[in-house]
Symmetry: C2
Amino acid sequence: MKHLILASTSTLPDEKYLTYLLPELKIFFKNKSTITFIPYARPNGISHDHYTRHVAQAFSKIGKKVKGLHEYKDPIAGISEAEAIFTGGGNTFILVKALYDLDIIKPLKNIIQKGVPYLGCSAGSNIIGQSMHTTNDMPITMPQDFKTLGVIPYNINAHYLDPIPHLKHNGESRETRIKEFHTYHDTDVIGLREGSYLEVIGADIFLKGPHSARLFQKNQEAKEVSQIDGKAKDL
Amino acid sequence: MKHLILASTSTLPDEKYLTYLLPELKIFFKNKSTITFIPYARPNGISHDHYTRHVAQAFSKIGKKVKGLHEYKDPIAGISEAEAIFTGGGNTFILVKALYDLDIIKPLKNIIQKGVPYLGCSAGSNIIGQSMHTTNDMPITMPQDFKTLGVIPYNINAHYLDPIPHLKHNGESRETRIKEFHTYHDTDVIGLREGSYLEVIGADIFLKGPHSARLFQKNQEAKEVSQIDGKAKDL
């Protein structure tokens, strides 16, 4: 049975990396000793090794080992052998380009379908939706396609940010951008606030954490939701 | 001689569309009666007609007519016959995809090189740089390429936004995103604050408006600049 945790962010303000999620992750990854880490999103452009060390440090607090997927000669084999997966945040364009270039989208879908637990943060959550069309990231590289894994029938907008009152700035708001997305696409978008996350268990999708989510649907006013009605698909 | 105005934004807070620029545009477009408007960036997903009417209303205040490029059966001819050009803001992905799909990148470069005055706002300014890799927009569609006109030896980051003090949010700052860009690319990036604009006259690039700009260069600390040293190229 599929089991995923899809977090808006890895890190809450004034906290250390993953701290707020560790109690949940201790349960989520119970009976797993090593987590295979997908480091390709490279936040701040840091190296795969550097990023993997950072992640390993956080997971050592709950007694888990971490192995970077980049350490495998054959990343497809690395994915297929994983007992648990974590895809970290960073730049979604860089991440999706790497998934296509390394041809690991299908192997990733396969092991998720098999029930290998998958944790995503930010970009790592985005890729579980239908497409990366609703990322906030800068398009610093062009992936082969914007289509992503499609485990859930939604797109995620991670780090969802409500309009900032009195900010004198005419860049588009997050809501305006997602409205533009719906000029061209039909997929519902979940604006996931920092500290909140989705837990997918089989077909069910649960919203967890302290905040409601903002649901954007084509030709409708955005609305606040405290639960997710759509069902995860078989892959 | 090339002559361009490249604005960070079309609209200042609490002002009407283009108001702050109109005195400058009256001079910039003197002796021109009709401005050919490129509406493809479609802010908020509005129609080309709607957007063109909005622009025409603003330009009527300085006695200019506006004709939307979408009104031409042959947009390449529309560009080539233009006595002045304005490309409006909106979504840079949508805009660049249209430029490629309609095959008007080269005609646009040609008339800019010939000295037809070109005004860009936001997305319309982004496309004058080397690439659209540093847009803030959401990737709601995939253009054929991220390469843009390359009139100036920079990329522009329009609506450049300084970090907001005390904002408890872990989405990447603009500076972090541009730093990630420089992990993969060498092009200098000009962070252009709202109200400021570049005027290109022949090879010279002048920074105008109330603010300094923020210059991002690979492997260097970002810095404030009050002038632009690079030279526009022949196309």
